[in-house]
């Protein structure tokens, strides 16, 4: 605990948290109103609240992070502070892992328990006989007990390319990191940009895949538990790629415009990088469990 006895910086009062709380409130309340209106084919004020919420949220994030960056640049932060940020970020990523866990477990449960049970495995012979006589348990579930049919999303095409793209992006990000550590700022900038471009390519291809899936395969969000887990897992993953890409873009701009980060102090960069690697690992699991197996 070498430098643990330095002064710990406790920030001034700040209005950002309460603004953030209001932003989240607008988002939550707006989304609830909007979804209910949607379900009834109505319009409501929900969508406006959502837009306002997002605007306020971005305003808050921008302001809050500028404060942090300024403080960091002023040198108010000690190593201990840096550790707090790092640890905070690690626990945040842990919480994200647990969030994905919930959906992965839903996938495993549906696949290895619910679907076989519906076809009479274990002590469920009567379930199959009385309730779902024609049903056959297979995975991917191309025909639900209720009779909805879909096709299987193969892993060989876009998903495979996307896997390679994300893997490559993790490597390029590693090069960017080496760039920081060796003060090779051109290398840093180049590889960071490349990572972002790879991320956006991934998202683009994922979008293509969704279109293909809806139009050609009939695999939809509402086509049974295979479609459910497919879209929720890839969807939340895509959302995280989006956030990660935004995060990296901000870092990129800070480097290009403000010339931030040094070999010793680049927590912002590292947080973004951790996040990116985490999203990558989630994808690898997705690729294996959602597509291949």
């Amino acid at each position: 605990m070498g430098a643990a006895y330095q002064k710990y910086y406790v920030p001034h009062q700040s209005s950002w948290p309460i603004i953030g709380a209001i932003a989240l409130f607008l988002l939550g309340y707006g989304a609830a109103l909007w979804i209910n209106a949607l379900a009834k084919d109505q319009h409501g004020v929900g969508i406006f609240l959502i837009v306002a919420g997002f605007a306020l949220l971005f305003y808050m994030l921008f302001g809050w992070f500028s404060n942090i960056i300024d403080e960091s640049m002023e040198g108010l932060y000690s190593q201990q502070m840096d550790r707090s940020f790092r640890q905070g970020m690690s626990w945040f990523i842990f919480s994200e892992i647990m969030f994905f866990m919930a959906f992965f477990c839903a996938l495993f449960y549906a696949r290895t328990i619910a679907v076989p049970w519906l076809d009479g495995s274990g002590n469920n012979a009567m379930t199959a006989e009385v309730l779902w006589p024609g049903f056959e348990a297979i995975w991917p579930l191309t025909k639900t007990p209720g009779g909805i049919e879909t096709q299987v999303m193969p892993w060989e095409g876009i998903p495979l390319y996307n896997t390679l793209i994300l893997l490559a992006s993790s490597v390029t990000l590693q090069f960017a990191h080496m760039g920081i550590e060796q003060r090779k700022y051109t290398q840093l900038g180049f590889f960071l940009l490349l990572t972002i471009i790879l991320g956006i390519t991934f998202l683009f291809l994922q979008g293509q895949e969704y279109v293909h899936s809806y139009h050609e395969l009939g695999l939809r969000l509402d086509s049974g538990v295979y479609g459910n887990t497919f879209f929720l897992l890839t969807g939340f993953h895509g959302l995280h790629v989006t956030l990660g890409a935004i995060f990296l873009t901000v870092i990129f701009l800070r480097i290009i415009i403000k010339g931030h980060f040094t070999p010793e102090r680049h927590f912002g960069f590292q947080a973004a990088a951790w996040y990116w690697h985490f999203v990558d690992v989630v994808w690898l699991n997705l690729f294996v469990f959602v597509y291949v197996l």
Binding site: A4, K7, Y8, V10, P11, Q13, S14, S15, W16, P17, I18, G20, A21, L24, F25, G28, Y29, A32, I35, W64, M73, E74, G75, S78, Q79, Q80, R83, S84, F85, Q87, G88, W91, F94, S95, E96, M98, F99, A102, F103, C105, A106, A114, W117, L118, N123, T144, P145, G146, I148, Y185, L221, D222, G224, V225, N228, L232, G259, F261, T262, E264
Partner: protein, 536 residues
């Protein structure tokens, strides 16, 4: 390309900075914009007290309706909303924020930290909560009413068969989940990173230990709850069928995911109370805590076990026998580390030199009544018997013993214990004793007979019941009213202290008090430990 300002710390600038805002900010913005752990702790505690009263008022509606057989005041649909929202408000609004408030106040003081590790985020965690509960409670005033599927919101009652409140409920849970996760991150980072020099792991007060482990549980399971409610949302509104057999899902899968969150959640609501009691008993026994190390190990074991017992809430759902047996055995095992804790407290009192001020009274009541709740929990774990207990008032009795006389009594004893430190004045001992005795008697009138009606076959979550349960229910309802009224004494006590009415408290406050928090003046200065104290 970049300015190197790595390790150099401008101590002077920093010093000035600190001096500059050492005086308390004033007005409403003090509370809205605060980054001070004591202010935020106070906010959490006041919020929790408000929620206790809201949740308690809903419970009074429940008890009024159940006073006599027949439908008296409310229709069954509204009754279900009362039950559901009572459970949600108490769990997420009263108990959890109270613990976070205590952690905010006490953890930095106990480990010699200047504040929480991430003070702004701390403020954010708090202010999300009132908004979240505004969303939840506002549904009660909407057309169709609030959520009515129980605090456990089992699908498909909460999906296909629910009303419009579902979306509001889901987003409100998302918000309070975000709040809890951030709060927990803050606690963990503070404990990991901001301990004063010499405050080694095995010197940390047990309250800090129990909160560290609680925070870990929170970060592990709140996201799972977020996932659960998300699936509820998509099942209801976007045509997914996670919990619908026709699409290859399973309603029981909901319960697995929910209880994977839900069971650790109940330990989230008890572990910090264990910590509080472990501070109070040694203080008033004037004797060191018996078996400190085993207390730490026991807490960690409870936390570990809490991840592999969840299906004990689902014994009647028709799991395979092997799974049922597994969950029965793991559940029973939890009695062992919990027993270690109880025995250690008793051994701490043994041959001490005890006095019985209000905090100690509540702590002693905690031990007895929590143990009763724990023992009934053990009975619930015995599957063949649970088939008869499940979803009856026997379960309601069990969880109110662990939650009200466990968690809530723990919180109350903590408040009496630390309020002199917070406000600088002693609470009125006479009022405190009144509060204690009134609460003790009425709470047992309220919850003890529930064991009997439950065993005799009264199901929970019903607005009306068969005639043989009538006299017991009337008695329970009277106990409920008395217990509710007794809490007004508590509020009076707290308000007196907040208005600085009472004897001035010394720094040490209690004769047997040990630990850093008792070495700073009472009331604790707005900023403490800006230079870390040395712990021997």
């Amino acid at each position: 390309m970049s300015t190197d300002n790595s390790n150099t710390l401008d101590v002077n600038a920093d010093q000035q900075h600190v001096d500059h805002h050492d005086h308390k900010p004033t007005g409403i913005t003090r509370w809205l914009y605060t980054t001070n752990h004591k202010d935020i702790g106070t906010l959490y505690l006041l919020f929790s007290l408000t929620m206790l009263f809201i949740g308690g008022s809903l419970a009074m509606v429940i008890r009024a309706e159940l006073f006599q057989p027949g439908l008296q005041f409310v229709d069954p649909h509204f009754f279900n909303q009362m039950t559901t929202v009572h459970g949600l408000v108490m769990v997420f609004g009263a108990i959890m924020p109270a613990f976070v408030g205590l952690a905010n106040w006490m953890v930095p003081l106990m480990i010699g930290a200047p504040d929480m590790a991430l003070p702004r985020m701390n403020n954010w965690s708090f202010w999300i909560l009132p908004f979240s509960f505004f969303i939840l409670l506002s549904t009660l005033f909407m057309e169709g009413g609030g959520p009515a599927a129980g605090w456990t919101f089992y699908a498909p009652l909460s999906t296909t068969y629910s009303n419009d409140s579902t979306a509001f409920f889901v987003f409100s849970v998302h918000l309070l989940g975000i709040s809890s996760i951030m709060g927990a991150m803050n606690v963990i980072v503070t404990i990991f990173n901001l301990r004063a020099p010499g405050m080694t792991w095995m010197k940390m007060p047990l309250f800090v230990w129990t909160w560290l482990i609680t925070a870990f549980l929170l970060i592990a399971v709140m996201p799972v709850l977020a996932g659960t409610v998300t699936m509820v949302l998509t099942d209801k509104y976007f045509g997914t069928s996670f919990f619908d057999a026709a699409g290859g899902g399973d309603p029981v899968m909901f319960q697995h995911i929910f209880w994977f969150f839900g069971h650790p959640e109940v330990y989230i609501m008890i572990l910090p109370a264990f910590g509080i009691v472990s501070s109070i008993i040694p203080t008033f026994a004037r004797k060191p805590l018996f078996g400190y190390e085993s207390m730490v190990v026991a807490t960690a074991s409870i936390a570990f076990l809490s991840f592999i017992v969840w299906a004990h809430h689902m014994f009647t759902t028709g799991m395979p026998v092997a799974a049922e047996l597994f969950f029965m055995y793991t559940t029973m095992l939890i009695a062992v580390p919990t027993g270690v804790k109880v025995f250690n407290w008793v051994a701490t009192m043994w041959r001490g030199s005890m006095t019985f001020e209000t905090p100690m009274m509540f702590a002693v009541a905690f031990i007895v009544l929590f143990t009763i709740g724990g023992l009934s929990g053990l009975m619930l774990a015995i599957i063949p018997a649970d088939f008869q207990y499940q979803d009856t008032y026997f379960v309601v009795a069990h969880f109110h013993y662990v939650l009200v006389t466990g968690a809530l009594f723990g919180i109350i004893s903590g408040v009496y214990f630390w309020i002199p430190k917070w406000t600088g004045v002693m609470y009125s001992e006479r009022l405190g004793q009144w509060h204690f005795w009134c609460s003790l008697i009425s709470v047992n009138m309220l919850f003890f007979p529930m064991h009997f009606v439950g065993l005799a076959g009264m199901p929970r979550r019903i607005p009306d019941y068969a005639l043989q349960f009538a006299d017991m229910n009337a008695f329970i309802s009277i106990g409920a009213a008395l217990f509710g009224l007794s809490q007004l004494i508590f509020v009076w006590c707290v308000v007196r202290c907040m208005r600085k009415k009472g004897e001035k408290a010394s720094a040490e406050v209690w004769e047997g008090a040990q630990g850093l928090e008792w070495q700073i003046p009472s009331p604790a200065p707005y900023h403490t430990f800006q230079t870390p104290p040395k712990v021997k």
